[in-house]
Symmetry: C2
Subunit: 329 residues, 2 copies
């Protein structure tokens, strides 16, 4: 096998997060349902953005956040995702490169603008998201650079990109290139509603193409249509080589092969400020661990520490260099 | 194999619990360390009992509580444990028979008085225990009725009885009778300090005689001298047929054979009043489940429900008929 150029190559939505702290009243006034992520069109994006007012803009997107985490942990990460050649697109590219992630997907010269996610954080640290996917949905198989995928130990796919048909094709192409080069493929289920929309396709992808599956409790329960976490755990057993299942403050459970199961605690957090990015950074920690020779339990503990860092402040990308936090774990 | 007469026969300390709600100041005044269980002699028992004043007396003892739980769930339970022929001994026997547990161990006619456990419950629902073991420690191999052990699908041993050498002999005798009759043997580690005192003996017993092991997080970590729950989980893997490991509000993890692992949530509790007996009732639920044809995950869920009932009120025995709570789980 050729030498790896990257530990992980993430493929996902290229989104700029627009974050604002607001009260529950703001949610009610704008008819937003707390804790959900809903997709909006360009007009609605403009309307909510106008109502939001004062806010902070940070490059985001689930797999992109994870790649930022891998880089912060000291790993080599690449990202593939589509922006438009507009101001937000420039900002996205600048931010992700600044943190050390390789990013060279060509910006679209026409069509929808760069994607943005309007995130309202209420005082209970819950996030309510309104996402305009714009250009990020226009990723197509031509954007998958075979040299990046072949050069990455793990190619990491973001479930949110399952909605646009061409992006789904891009996933299959990337999986085939990765496996053809003897590499591994990871998938995050991203969102329980996303799982509801694509349950059969996700099941096929998991059994046919995925070596490492990431899901939170509600996503894995949705995938297998069961009503308890333990039932989901039994259902996923044997479906892929590794499954890493997150449970918020209950920590995570990692399965490997026929009989290896690890129950990993959440890392302590002084104050939960904003849970945006917790799952993304957990995945970053596990992916970093798996590509840097750590055993599965330690990979899980690194995931817990990375997730704890990101929920201790606003925004879905680490503010501390994560490599400094994982020395003794 | 002969027909079973009992689902479970428990062997443990026959103790009367003396419960009182007091503030943290009471603990400080009497030099008691919150959350611990310490052993005291007859004189100290009289002194603390005097300081305690107003209190409630309820028959207790760890394995005896579990047998009360099995009976409350609708199972057939027997108990073997030693009292003195005094008032507390009469009360113990009357209480345990009232709830439907078969109990016929002969009371000692001389020697130490019936055991009592002085339990101070602070406003945070923590319990601090001072135990005078008295007559309960004088259990000897002659008290093990072979007909009861042979007639029980599972013989359940309480780790606390590992301190007196004759009681330990009684355990080995009971295990050999049980296995000779094709029955199963279960053990609860009871207490992390108890594990510290008898680590090597417990490890030998677990590997040589025990089919079903119960332990909480600190006990199993002490048994294998590791610093995380997951490390303990890996260490116990393969050491006995079934391990049921409790984690307070984090629920429990049950292992079976080479690769079956269940992660079971704690059952919801409106208000935690007194955690005394949580582990005992969890064990009752699992033992009832295993001897009544339920799968391991459901046995664990029954354990969670039984534990949730007992921590919702003062005292270590159920106040509700547990069989009425488990219909749909």
């Amino acid at each position: 096998m050729a030498e790896t150029r990257f530990d992980v190559a993430g493929i996902g939505n290229a989104i700029v997060d627009v974050l604002a702290r607001r009260t529950d009243d703001f949610l009610a006034e704008n008819e937003l349902v707390k804790g959900t992520m809903s997709l909006i069109d360009a007009d609605a994006a403009d309307a909510v953005y106008g109502a939001l007012g004062d806010s902070v803009e940070i490059s985001g997107g689930s797999a992109a956040n994870s790649m930022a985490g891998v880089a912060s942990l000291g790993g080599d990460a690449a990202f593939i995702g589509k922006v438009r050649d507009d101001d937000l697109g420039d900002a996205f590219a600048r931010d992700i490169r600044d943190i050390g992630v390789h990013y060279e997907t060509e910006a679209a010269k026409s069509g929808a603008g760069t994607a943005r996610c309007l995130i309202v954080v209420t005082p209970d640290a819950q996030r309510t998201m309104q996402t305009y996917l714009g250009a990020s949905q226009d990723l197509d198989p031509g954007d998958i650079d075979p040299e990046i995928v072949k050069g990455a130990a793990i190619t990491y796919l973001e479930g949110y990109l399952f909605d646009p048909p061409l992006a789904k094709e891009a996933f299959v192409k990337a999986s085939e290139i990765a496996h053809g080069a003897g590499r591994r493929v990871a998938l995050t289920l991203s969102d329980q509603f996303c799982v509801d929309r694509h349950r059969e396709d996700f099941r096929k992808l998991v059994e046919g193409h995925v070596d490492i599956l990431f899901a939170n409790e509600s996503e894995i329960m949705s995938l297998y249509e069961v009503s308890s976490f333990d039932d989901a755990l039994q259902a996923v057993h044997g479906k892929c080589d590794i499954a890493a299942l997150t449970r918020s403050e209950k920590g995570s459970v990692l399965l490997h092969g026929a009989g290896e199961v690890h129950v990993i605690d959440a890392a302590p957090v002084d104050k939960v400020v904003d849970t945006t990015g917790a799952g993304d950074l957990y995945a970053a920690g596990v992916l970093f661990g798996l590509t840097n020779g750590y055993d599965l339990a330690r990979a899980g503990r690194i995931g817990s520490v990375a997730a704890a860092e990101v929920i201790g402040h606003m925004g879905a990308r680490p503010l501390t260099l994560l490599r400094d936090l994982i020395g003794s774990i």
